[in-house]
């Protein structure tokens, strides 16, 4: 593989929160235009992996190449400008801003982001509640907003953490559609999910994490064959 095809390469990544050592040498690769999931049990370190990529954890070491650039020593805001969009697990809606202000907040990091109109067609709830303060939105509306927010920025590498959480089934189905659509537009997406049923049909590849290490890699083709192993690892 070379730098033309791979957008993200993580090698020997260690990350800490204070004294606790969470990631113990992660290695994985995400190619351009791929959808990849990180699976694992609660507390396995999936969220930490995404945060570490953006430099949001405590100390980290190893190597993270984004688009051919080493980012391990870079400041968070500079990493973001390499074209990364992040949707955090806890959603991170700003309560002091209205829904629309939240939506407009992240600055564009590359050209080609979606327009406001496109986003509103995708999430009509948000259009209706656009002037409502962020913290007044319902749980699900906040989730939609958190995703919609990064679609505007033009970021081509999306890190999505538990985006199907707290959403009505009908919206979850729609989100699956959105991800396919994004993939077809050439976006590269890393998904962290509990909801295997949601993630499985979308991904080109699954990485299973346990105790801060990749313990299994499953490509789409191998999925059926390795189902038992996944059951064992994830308790599905």
């Amino acid at each position: 593989m070379n730098a033309d095809t791979e957008l993200l390469r993580v090698t020997g990544l260690h990350a800490f929160y204070g004294d606790s050592h969470i990631l113990h040498g992660m290695d994985f690769v995400v190619n351009r235009g791929e959808v990849v999931t990180l699976l694992g049990r609660n507390g396995a370190g999936r969220t930490t992996t995404l945060r570490a990529i953006l430099g949001l954890t405590g100390t980290r070491s190893g190597s993270i190449m984004v688009n051919g650039r080493e980012t391990i020593a870079m400041a968070t805001h500079d990493i973001a400008h390499l074209g990364i969009g992040y949707c955090p697990e806890e959603r991170g809606i700003f309560s002091a801003l209205s829904a629309e202000e939240n939506l407009l907040l992240p600055p564009a990091v590359a050209s080609g982001g979606m327009t406001l109109a496109e986003i509103y067609t995708m999430f009509p709830n948000l259009q209706e509640r656009r002037n409502s303060p962020g913290m007044r939105l319902s749980g699900g509306e906040q989730q939609m907003l958190a995703i919609a927010r990064i679609l505007r920025t033009g970021a081509k590498l999306l890190l999505l953490d538990e985006i199907s959480e707290g959403l009505a089934p009908v919206i979850v189905q729609m989100l699956a559609g959105v991800i396919r659509e994004l993939k077809s537009r050439g976006y590269t997406i890393v998904i962290v999910e509990q909801n295997f049923r949601f993630a499985a049909p979308l991904a080109d590849r699954h990485y299973v994490i346990e105790h801060g290490r990749i313990v299994e890699t499953v490509t789409m083709n191998e999925l059926a064959a390795k189902m038992d192993r996944l059951h064992l690892l994830l308790g599905i």
Binding site: S138, G140, E141, A168
Partner: protein, 250 residues
Amino acid sequence: MSDDTILETRDLVKEFKGFVAVNGVNLRVKRGSIHALIGPNGAGKTTCFNLLTKFLEPTRGSIRFNGIDITRERPAEIARRGIIRSFQISAVFPHLSVLENVRIGLQRRLGTSFHFWKPEKSLEQLNDRAMALLESVDLAPFADSITVELPYGRKRALEIATTLALDPELMLLDEPTQGMGHEDVGRVVELIRKVSAGRTIMMVEHNLNVVADLSHTITVLARGAVLAEGPYAEVAKNPQVLEAYVGVAD
């Protein structure tokens, strides 16, 4: 109102600056049942919970609990009547020990909560009961740990134990399985089933497996109003519900 109705709302309305979040909801919750409240995002489920526990003031309408009008009461009073809620995010007292967490729930009924001159020892009479409650949610071995250190799933369990300490007649659970791994979901479902004996439970939940598994009655809200009501099998076939909430299975 018949005896087997524990909670009833009439034309409950909540407006936020011109936006109607809950629009004339009539609920009737049967005593001893598990009643699920589902609906699309923003349908008004959490708002309903907030109205029932008076964390929000209804714009119109009335709430009756055990035949008594509680529409004008304050949150703490409602809680003392036996309506206890859980939160969408876990709600424990992080820097108290696990045992103390449960004891806070038990303590209220001693009636000494304002007694600043009584020693803490006076609370130790509650320890047995607290341990029993912890036992019931498999937390007994952790009794002396500081709560922050517990994993997420166990915190949820502790929260339920604390709620049970108040021996509520009616428990309101807002998305109890959200953010949990598959094993934890299973454990919580079992737990809810276990504690539902002898009390009434209302819950909001998006995980349809859980809903199907647990609930006797389901009320579907959409845009602040009741769209459908009935047992799972019936509701799940309702075309309106399919369209607004469940989506067409692919």
